[in-house]
Symmetry: D3
Subunit: 161 residues, 6 copies
């Protein structure tokens, strides 16, 4: 049966001891979506050709957010991130797909850092465009891939249900 | 036509000047969802009766996250929050609904604080339960209500499309 | 019967709503003690005449710590502090008495800021002197005085037990 | 004669160079006390059976505080903590005993992290219960044990006075 | 004779009490320069037409840095900034001129916020371009204008020397 | 031709991947200047013999600022600093020369940490003395030396122009 690792045997929350785990290269990819009116997306994409840019602001916010993960998520270990990148694509009308990739060498995985990068980038898109479209929705934040830990390689969609 | 306020007339991003706006009481409510396997939700709800608690950890992370909003979202103004609360409910199998409510007196709205509270609480639920269920998804993060600003009262669903 | 204010009627922790409270001038004073071997205190006091200084470092740490109170104490409101000062005295052999005074205009008191200033200053004294005396003890951290709130003027020792 | 390590030969404070020290597994345990009226402790313990919880909030604050140690204590080195846990016990009427344990692999000890965890947890108990009992006192914050460094194993009470 | 305000009468540093000062609208402008090889500046300006951008990154870093001023500068008061903007110009070969403007309503001036915005933007330009030109120099960081405080309007160059 | 490393092949900013670089001992030295009226410098130097001290405050701010580098500079990697020191000298009338030295073992250099230490110390001198001399100027912030990375040893002045 699955277990939660952030609890001690007596049931108290703790930052779980990773001292016995080997330090290995960790990688995680995560994605999220911002749904908006088609006209809002056009405004955002049009701005990309001028000086100030919604998506570049969101990209930097995502990268900087990843570095703050352990101070936002209470039981998350600190890690020295070795790379963070955030990408945007537009697979449908009125939809921005945000994807983040993070790597580090350490004793814990970096999925929370990838998810925090995605989440912060999505919130920043909302902030930048909210004066035009208050009804935007952030959706589909999830882990795509994770490697380097004891639990093996995780690739969304390939797991046995 | 809608406009983005975080840009100066020459197109550069800026923290927009709110000095001319009156200081009024602001309120915002936002929500988000964490989708998981029904067994994971049962594990989380079962823990709530013992000492350590996934949802209480997520609630505190959401409240503390709201206070960090202006350092996470690049162009967001700092505000002195007057109240923050985070609630959980379970409207369906395998679904935690997170709702946050924030208020402050100030020259800008608190919707980013409410959305950041929701988002941080959802990420913390993921972190606490990920050893049991790596496939969880965070979804439906959106503003429910906002009042106190020049743009009037916003209530999701009541706006003209 | 006394009540805890950081809980909502349904029992969940929250940042309590202070929106209905008037904004008044708040003041708090708190103290703490660091107990050490008499020789350690002599070393600290001797250093005060040269360039680097244990107590000046602790004083600055206390002042800066006061400004971080709301990010350290989960349900504490943010406030714009108007003054912070930290004083040291040596009432006995092997004892440093730390006293902090904080003021602000706001809707909540500043006792947590004064206590955090004291606590951070005491920890910094420990850090600076620990290579000489690992057995130091921090003690007697308590509120001395508080004024400006609805609960009236509090002066330690003058309350009816 | 004992010496303070946070000073350069010319007397200026500095973050002491630990580059020549080996990276080893470090552990530290520290404790602190919160003294209160017996009725206040009963209120706190009674709350533990409901949803919101003074001690769980303090525990999380202690764990998160440990991660902020190097930004609070001016000359403290940053470390990647591998585990943090905070425990509470009630050895006497009107007394909460807080104990924290921290470990990391690194070139400096983790005693400041353990002491900061204890100190932040104690302050949070004060904050949560202060509306019921303003006269609480934080006391007896001290190092219990430390291992892994060049100075050998320290266990309070076993040192030669 | 001029006096330093960050000291108490007994000579200790403190966060000076601004409680007696009126809350007024404050404004400050500051500037700084980054000197580099002409080829480096051409590379930076060329990048401005593509997706990633040295100057946009520096602008956001400056805006976000302004919000962190009171946690960086030990005795600086916290303020709720109402606007922050950062501009770049290129008055000479191999020179980027950075100018920041900050406003707030409060009891202290915002010159440290404007200077911190400039300084952080300059450091970020250095960071972004250092792989091409390690010899860059940051220079001429100074206050241009300040208004809203008791000391009256300050405009650099207009004061009597 | 020189290249900027903080961009991905498609032109987006990113935190560049240092995972393939060896972890080596890094060192950097940087300097900066604060220019002021001769009388202001005399005031600052006179204060150094009493309890509160402009330069000791600036030194601590520089050391603490170095530890915040990766949260201030958007694409900067986090590092565990092994030593930070800040020195002051007075080579001319009305001039404080600030020099910082930083070391760490890691996959990226520490020049941004040394430059941030210098920059924060200079800003703090400005803050502490600004009530006496608003016209001070921060100048000459630059890297003096850097060693430990793949790009070899850098010593300002020794490079071929």
């Amino acid at each position: 049966m699955p277990e939660f690792s952030h609890f001690s045997p007596d049931g108290a929350v703790r930052m779980v001891d990773v001292g016995g785990k080997p330090s290995t290269r960790r990688l995680a990819r995560a994605e999220g979506r911002v749904l908006m009116q088609p006209g809002t997306l056009r405004l955002i994409r049009d701005r990309s050709v001028v000086m100030g840019d919604v998506l570049e602001t969101a990209r930097l916010a995502g990268i900087m957010g990843a570095k703050q993960t352990s101070s936002l998520i209470p039981l998350c270990h600190s890690l020295l991130l070795e790379s963070v990148s955030v990408r945007f694509s537009f697979p449908e009308e009125g939809l921005i797909l945000v994807e983040a990739e993070v790597s580090a060498e350490g004793r814990t995985g970096v999925e929370m850092e990838a998810l925090t990068a995605v989440s912060t980038a999505c919130l920043t898109i909302y902030d930048m465009a909210k004066s035009a479209d208050r009804g935007m929705e952030i959706s589909g934040i999830r882990l795509l891939e994770k490697s380097g830990g004891r639990s093996g390689h995780y690739l969304r969609g390939s797991e046995k249900a």
